[in-house]
């Protein structure tokens, strides 16, 4: 290993946030299929980007807290090779829904007020931010990922679609997305540390029309109902801002998402 190169690489990484906002901030799991056959192997890709069009992200063991499948019987670690895309491989169970869940460690990001304003506008997080953030020149955000995907095994039933994976911030469907009709409403509950999270902006993005998301805010019980105009692949996301536990950040942001195919059963 060539240490100067590493040092310079670190330096290069440490620098970089100039003025113009970098908007690749959504993170999700993209399986090779949402409808695997019983026992089929499914590759799981991590994606980062906007408009449900993401760059592949290699498996990063240094950031990984938990990458698991949660089935009817047991939780299993998702195997994978560090530094490789796809990030992991899962095996479909005999029936029902397999929940794939990924939780990352926090990473520090420095944001200019201008860049932060873009996030605020896009994610509807203004009510959650500390007062006076607009007056700050630079904001330090410790961001982490809490994402999941629903794989529904071909055959009878999709039991387990509402299984809670135990992510710090988690969207849980309260109705079966696999049986949703076009134009139907999907109720979800947003959980923060296992408890309902109210007053948080939730947005759903369709693979087929990513520029026109459907959005609503969770009620006091953490519930939100989103009318999804079509079936197919969907990404639903939310962001929770929490006070920072460390002095090196002004606040922490947890980015959650759930990917699934609506209808098609």
């Amino acid at each position: 290993m060539r240490t100067p190169t590493v040092l310079l690489t670190i330096a290069a990484l440490a620098l970089g946030s100039i003025a113009k906002p970098a908007l690749g901030h959504d993170f999700w799991i993209e399986p090779s299929t949402y409808r695997p056959a019983p026992g089929q192997r499914v590759t799981l890709r991590h994606r980062v980007g906007n408009d449900f069009l993401g760059d592949p992200v290699r498996r990063d063991e240094s950031l990984l807290v938990r990458f698991v499948t949660v089935g009817a019987e047991a939780e299993q670690r998702v195997p994978g090779v560090a530094g490789i895309d796809p990030a992991g491989i899962a095996q479909a169970p005999g029936s029902g829904t397999l929940v794939v869940a990924y939780e990352s460690r926090g990473s520090l990001a420095e944001l200019t007020a201008e860049k932060m304003a873009v996030y605020v506008e896009q994610e509807g997080i203004a009510p959650q931010l500390p007062r006076g953030w607009r007056g700050r020149k630079l904001l330090r955000d410790r961001f982490s990922r809490s994402v999941k995907s629903l794989l529904v095994v071909q055959g009878d039933g999709s039991a387990g679609f509402d299984r809670v994976a135990g992510l710090p911030l988690e969207l849980v469907p309260l109705a079966d997305p696999a049986t949703l009709l076009p134009g139907g409403t999907l109720p979800l509950r947003l959980l923060w540390q296992g408890k309902p999270a109210g007053g948080i902006h939730v947005a759903a993005i369709s693979r087929l029309d990513p520029k026109h998301p459907v959005a609503a805010t969770t009620d006091a019980g953490g519930e939100v109902a989103l009318a999804l105009p079509r079936g197919g692949e969907w990404l639903i996301k939310a962001v929770k801002i929490a006070p920072s536990k460390d002095a090196d950040a002004d606040f922490e942001s947890v980015w959650t998402s759930i990917t699934f195919v609506a209808g098609n059963r």
């Binding site: 240490t3 190169t5 100039i18 069009l53 990063d60 950031l63 460690r105 990473s107």
Partner: protein
Amino acid sequence: MNPIAAVRRAWLVPVWLVLATLLAGAGAARAHELGAGRVEIYFLPDSAFRVDLQIDPDLTLQRLQVAADEPPTPGLPDAPLREALLARRDELLATARLTAGGAALPTTLTYLPAPPPGKGGREATVRLEGTLPAGAEALQLAWTLPASRYAVIVHREGDDADPGADLETHWVEPGELGPPLRRAAEVPDRLAVARQYLLLGFTHILPGGLDHVLFVLGIFLFSTRLKPVLLQVTAFTVAHSITLGLSIYGVVSLPSSIVEPLIALSIVYVAVENVLHPELTPWRVGVVFAFGLLHGLGFAGVLSELGLPRSEFLTALVAFNVGVEGGQLAVIALAFLAVGWWARSASWYRQRVVVPASLAIAAVGLWWTVQRVIS
């Protein structure tokens, strides 16, 4: 100075992406996850340049469609995908803004499809070619297509002649203007190189080289008198300077699987001898000299990994060695501060300091020896 990360070969970029990811995960400030995007920039004769943007064609088409507020058409076969992308030539060109001195550089675009399945990656190449205007020595790129940080690798004339040559790599946020990329490589400043390698040599001992630190402490604990310590330190320094130089110039070499366990064993030896034979003999100086030869090979291994700039090879080598000496002297100075010169003349010094400390050093050295042999 622009942030530059040098890598040996372009194909090492994924490795560096991983390393950078791991290192960044350790706490460095960064914006978001690193993606797999890559740009290769070639500076050619007569001020010509070529910019190869590596793209996922399917994802790229969808991004262009969504940007134009059209429904995306994922999963097109190769031929219609190429056709659809080339129909958006202008939009594709607009995603990569090339400038020299703030002025836009005109370029021609060629699309090179991804190789067939099984014949390589699934990345296609968007090739931009042009010429730098008279007087322009650098260009800058702002690429808006990726959603995550991407690598820009610079190739210059003559780079390919030396397969071991370093390639300049920059990490750039999508949409942001990258650093100026110079047609001719910057010649490193001699003083800056000396400073950098001096620091690297010093930090290789303190705090990076605990095995060397324990060896030097073993020498320090050997005697309460200055002369025996100085004699041993001089022998050690001369010896490791010899093998460091010879090894870097390729005259001698030993695999690290042999050198590293022997270095650990040398720590055991000096520490045990501190307890059993605390008298300076020519034998002791000779043994320390021999161990110095071994440590020199260890330093050379590290320095080879660090790499030496071709244009300032000797400067870097000498500076690194001086840095190592500085580190060793600092260890001895700190040891003096810790136990105090007065304590060395106390009657209990040998029983309460030298013997237990030497035994502890020997135990650690023994543990490392076993560990290094096994690994």
